[in-house]
Amino acid sequence: MQPRLSAALAATRLASWASAAGGRGGTSLPGLVGLRVEPLLVTKLAGQLDSAIVVAGTNGKTTTAAWLGAALRADRRPLIHNREGSNMLRGVATTLAKRSALSGRLGGGRPLVGLFEVDEAALPVILGQVRPSIVLLTNLFRDQLDRYSELALVADHWRAPLRAMPASSTLVLNADDPLVASLGDDVTARVLYFGVDSWPGDRRAQLASSADSLYCPGCGGALAFSSVAYAHLGHYRCPACGRERPAVAVSARVISEGVHGTSLTVSMGDQSIEARLATPGRYNVYNAVAAIAAAVTSGVPLDRAVAAVEAAKGAFGRAETIEAARRTVRLYLIKNPTGADEVLRLLASGLKGGDLLTLLSDNAADGLDVSWIWDAEFELLAGWGGRVTCGGTRAEDMALRLKYAGIAGSPTVVPEDVGEAVRSALEGTPVGGTLVIVATYTAMLAARDALARGGHVRQYWQKAGA
């Protein structure tokens, strides 16, 4: 018996009941309370896991973790996953505590795999406490610079804890992101690189204006790109010091891409499997390859991992389609220029014609600085046919951005309350029509909440299974 741990677990139970009684799915308060009582809560519970996998990076980590979870479940691994949203230490604590008996025993003694999506700032402390056998790092983009100040600092902040990982562990890294690939330098752990070998036509030779990592992480020289998937992801080489995209162990070749999905071939060694992703977008190709690479690293056969990812849907709020009040609502999360550009390209390439509701907020989880909207290519929406409205705590900033992007007419600014904005936009959309919602993180949660209260969608914390 560990009295302090038991007391901490009892405290998390009370906090969960309290937040459930308040009608909210508390995903961070219980953990926060538990860590107050027992600061080693995560260390003690995670130590009982059979193995742990940590997923971090700027964009797509929720989707990637969800798809990796699907692959692990398809391989019948009993899983514990912080899928409900909080990706700080307290969220990991909440997830672990929920599956522990008051005695401090995790998962009733069954060998569990822990899958944790982790915030950029929380990665070092979580690596120290969870001691994962696999760390998957997807990409690094400018996001919430008011929290992290500079991109290179995020990577530097990660290097020491990654170098401390033992030889028995594996780092799964995106070879196509120069800064992420450089995190494999001088580590003791095994490194497995994944990437995308080719795109149909390789049409984008130009780096997007939102591209971040244009300079060699080794010597600081300008990188030369022979092909670019989007933003700064692609095939690169430093003419000055010779650093280049590392050889990849798990790779994809994209055969065709469109608004309804992507066809690709996934290869590892001498195995090649054709796959079809229903969730469109180049970023989702990276999410899929990342999830497959981590799954095979943990021992899931390649064909099973690919099949599971093919069958999986987008994570909550990311490119989700909801039928509401006889209208179709498409929800897209936007939170930084690179991710937003991919969503805007998708919208521009085939989904025009519906109404558009943008929800821009500047709460702490969104980032206080909304400047990034000027780096995203909202010009792609010029000529949008339907009604355009702007909501969220910074609705007026988005209305101004859309004015400069040449969106016809001046977008209407709707009440600050996101729920109100969603309800009125939905009422304004004709029956049988489509309402596209692009929203920042907290606005996305509030929009989904409003749709749930209308009975159109289940609250995300009520999803079956864990």
Binding site: S209, A222, E396, A399, L400
Partner: protein, 270 residues
């Protein structure tokens, strides 16, 4: 619309120095010209380019990460330096934001290591105190001859003016250094500021002033046609409400100029 000649803008280091979406400033100038039937040509000038700055009416430089700023500083001072300094002295209209503003000063002194020489146009210098002083981060409002200015600031370096006039007085936020309530600098036709967000779309008076200065330099005194700035006013009003500053803040250019009202605090006057 032939009374307004075509303008040329030198966009310095658009890839290297675009940390906080500073590119929105250039886009704003281009659109405000386009809406008036004026042609604005933008040339992107990266590392190594040695342009003839005499052929430009305007120049813009944004902010970058420390390492990128070091690369840009070397190029700015050694490759482009003499020509750019001469053009600025001859009245080249310029907007420099954040890191770009720092680079146009005399020097940048990092927390560790050697001073980074600047272009030496603004009579100002910048110091980074490392962990000893926190970064200056947050929404900010300042007041001066251009009326109220709004934006978001995010800088580690602290700038001291040693001769250049400040652009405005800080009402909410840090400004140049968090101590003397100055924000930005004006020297000739050049403006430096720590405000992004992006700066010009939310402060259209400055955008139009930069364009007017460029035309005056070409001998065109005709006032710019007015634009419908309701969306700009709406975004400014929302920020004033958020920051709790004067409700009538946008009623026109301030008559107060550089008065001695409290620094960095909230101005509750209505």
């Amino acid at each position: 619309m032939t009374q307004f000649p075509r303008l040329r803008l030198a966009y310095l280091y658009p890839r290297l120095m675009n940390l906080y979406s500073d590119t929105g400033n250039v886009w704003c100038l281009r659109q405000r010209c386009a809406w008036r039937g004026i042609d604005l040509v933008v040339d992107e000038l990266e590392l190594g380019a040695e342009p003839d700055f005499a052929q430009y009416d305007l120049a813009f430089i944004g902010g970058g990460e420390d390492r990128q700023q070091t690369i840009a500083a070397h190029d700015l001072v050694h490759t482009k330096g003499p020509a750019l300094r001469e053009a600025l002295s001859n009245g080249l209209v310029c907007l420099a934001v954040c890191g770009g503003y720092q680079l146009l000063g005399n020097y940048y002194r990092p927390a560790e290591g050697e001073d980074l020489p600047g272009l030496g146009f603004f009579r100002a210098h910048t110091r980074h105190f490392g962990a000893a002083k926190p970064r200056c981060v947050g929404n900010a409002a300042a007041e001066g001859p251009y009326g109220w200015l709004v934006g978001f600031e995010n800088h580690g370096g602290r700038t001291m003016l040693t001769g250049s006039e400040p652009l405005a007085r800080v009402r909410v936020g840090f400004g140049n250094n968090g101590d003397d309530s100055t924000e930005g600098a004006i020297e000739g036709n050049a403006i430096g500021t720590y405000l992004h967000g992006s700066f010009l779309p939310k402060n259209p008076a400055i955008a139009d002033d930069l364009l007017s200065r460029a035309f005056r330099r070409r001998g065109v005194e005709t006032p710019l046609p007015l634009l419908d700035d309701r969306a700009e006013g709406q975004a400014r009003a929302a920020m004033f409400r958020k920051l709790g500053v004067a409700k009538d803040a946008d009623s026109g250019p301030s008559e107060l100029g550089f008065s001695k009202r409290g620094r960095g605090g909230r101005d509750g006057a209505t």
